[in-house]
Amino acid sequence: MPYCKQCHIHFETPQQKCVLCGQILESDQAKTTNYFPRFEMPKAYHKIFKSFIYLNVLSFVVLFFIDIQNQMIDFSFIAGVIHLYAIIMASFVFLSEFWTLKVTKIILLTLILLLSIGLLIRESTWALDYVIPIVLAVNILLYAIVILFKKDREDDDGFHVLLLSLLGLVPYGFLLLGWIKEPLPTQITFIVSLSVLLGLIFFNLRAIFEAMKRRFHV
């Protein structure tokens, strides 16, 4: 067993030098044990993500600088929104979550991107009138189908579908305010959202109530 003459201690681990004083240890034939695995340099995944964020920020700064030179900053704002989207999207993709929630987050993020671009180019009709209501309706329907079959997650998923259905009612408000010109997709989304909402209240009320109790406890 390695022995330090300076510190007067026996090491049970196969040390060459004393970890306290750095002296070379005396060794006899007694058995030593490796108590711990050997340290290996960790893989630097976080550096890849950091580099990705850095490149996005750099790209935005360069585009913004070029736009300022040309006295027109619209393009760099659009690029900025896309860069931000890319960063958030990358963080969503690497999150370990149940797939329905992950897909929903990605869809909602993409809808925000489309609306932002529409507003920046001052042409948001296509996003507000068609893309947002249709994609929301499809998402609500798909998520509602999932909870019919995935009973073990009914509290969580029920709560998420409830929030999504409430969000699905929002475009109808825009229609009433006159911000939406083409009514059909919004009306369909409204009906889908309302049907799912009523379905949740009729068939899943207890689970949703439980989920709300947990999430809003004070």
């Binding site: 007067h8 201690i9 090491f11 049970e12 970890v19 999150l95 947990r214 999430r215 809003f216 406890h217």
Partner: protein, 425 residues
């Protein structure tokens, strides 16, 4: 009866941990049991998954509500892993099937690393003991639980109770004001490496020395640690801040509680810079007095009530969680992280059924800590004192060893540091 879905509010002690934990400050502690033979990982995994549904406190994931985070039931299959080289390392629950503990195997050792938001050392020990019992049973050994294996007893609702809240007395609330403490400083190891230096001594010998000073083992060890820190910390006598050693106390025996969740509270030994040159004998006398003053039921209830009263404040309760989270982080950096010099946790004598003892060769308990995390546990006649630090300064460890030698205590030691690490850490 085991419930299919359940949830708990995070207990008073655990509330702040999710907000303040990161790669630098993991708030993960470690309990391990060694067998005489190498661990069979498939049987270990089977044992964990057999035991886990019984331990509702552990079978949870952390979720965020509008006002607070909470624990929600987690029924995912648990996977054991080969032990990594870095001890008490921060882990993200998302990468661990959302569980807040890890079960590792390495050679003949099974290790449970637990995030402190979930439970304390006593709660985690019950879980590890049940895993080890189940593992040995799966290996074909005939064991008798001797009424000591929680996994073999019916689930009691009291196990998941927040005992801080149930013992809260609003009439005895003590104002919590804590002065900043002197801090150990040095260059830190890279890659979250924590250097562990463990000393194995005879319980009988340590008890004999402690008795000579009229102290308990915890009081004696705490005094040795304080003595080493006072002697080896650079310019402690010229500092304005006191040296404070925090010692967690298991509150269960004082309040007759059986909860598996956090139910411990720090008592502290405080030494001021003008006491820098006092003798070891004086330190141990002061330590004994400070223990006596703080270890009364009344003092414990008033401090406990002080902690709970904070979370009962309406303004804090109504604050959305994302603001609370920022407040916890800032508050901890400004106050919490500065109130102690080091922590020393003694889990005491490990108790297990006599039928298990022939198969268990060693039990250990390690707490991390950025400055110095000191922990100890005794099994049979071996007391292990573990010093874990992220700092590249070994002078306090050396002084502790020297002090034990001066007290005629012999020891065997081991470390997780190897010579080649100098180049990479």
């Amino acid at each position: 009866m085991k419930k299919r879905r359940y949830w708990f509010k995070i207990d008073n002690a655990g509330k702040v941990f999710p907000a303040i934990s990161n790669q630098e400050r993991s708030n993960v502690f470690r309990l391990s049991m060694s067998f005489h033979d190498d661990v069979k990982s498939d049987l270990l995994e089977q044992a964990v998954n057999l035991v886990l549904p019984r331990f509702e406190v552990f079978a949870v994931k952390i979720k965020t509500g509008l006002f607070w985070q909470y624990f929600d039931s987690n029924q995912k299959y648990f996977k054991v892993e080969k032990e990594p080289a870095v001890i008490t390392r921060y882990f993200h629950p998302r990468k661990n099937q959302h569980y807040l503990f890890k079960v590792y195997y390495f050679n003949n050792r099974v290790t449970l690393e637990t995030f402190h938001a979930l439970t304390d050392g006593s709660g985690a020990y019950q879980f590890l003991l049940s895993i080890a019992y189940e593992y040995l049973t799966l290996l074909g050994h005939q064991l008798d639980p001797e009424d000591m294996i929680l996994g073999r007893k019916p689930l009691q609702p009291k196990e998941s109770e927040d005992a801080f809240v149930s013992n809260y007395d609003p009439k005895l609330v003590k104002k919590m004001r804590e002065e900043h403490a002197f801090h150990l400083k040095n260059e830190a190891y890279k890659h979250q490496f924590s250097h562990l230096f463990s000393m194995k001594m005879s319980v009988v010998e340590v008890k004999k020395v402690a008795k000579k000073y009229g102290a308990t083992i915890t009081q004696y060890l705490a005094s040795v640690i304080v003595f080493a820190m006072m002697r080896e910390s650079l310019n402690f006598n010229t500092q304005k801040k006191p040296l404070k050693l925090f010692i967690p106390i298991n509150l269960r025996p004082y309040f007759h509680e059986v909860t598996l969740r956090n139910f411990s509270m720090y008592l502290k030994t405080v030494f001021y810079p003008d006491q820098a040159s006092i003798s070891f004998e004086d330190i141990i006398e002061i330590t004994k007095t400070q223990f006596q003053e703080q270890l009364t039921k009344e003092s414990l209830v008033s401090r406990l009530s002080g902690y709970v009263s904070l979370e009962k404040k309406l303004i804090l309760r109504m604050m959305p969680f994302f603001i609370k989270n920022i407040a916890f982080k800032i508050g901890y950096d400004m106050l919490g992280a500065k109130i102690n010099t080091a922590s020393f946790s003694n889990l005491g004598q490990a108790k297990l059924p006599s039928s298990m003892k022939p198969y268990i060769s060693d039990i250990n308990f390690i707490i991390g800590g950025f400055g110095l995390g000191i922990s100890s546990i005794s099994y049979e006649d071996t007391l292990q004192l573990n010093l874990a630090t992220r700092l590249k300064d070994h002078s306090i460890m050396r002084k502790i060893v020297d002090t034990f030698h001066d007290h005629q205590l012999t020891m065997h030691v081991y470390s997780n540091y190897e010579e080649e690490y100098d180049a990479i850490l």
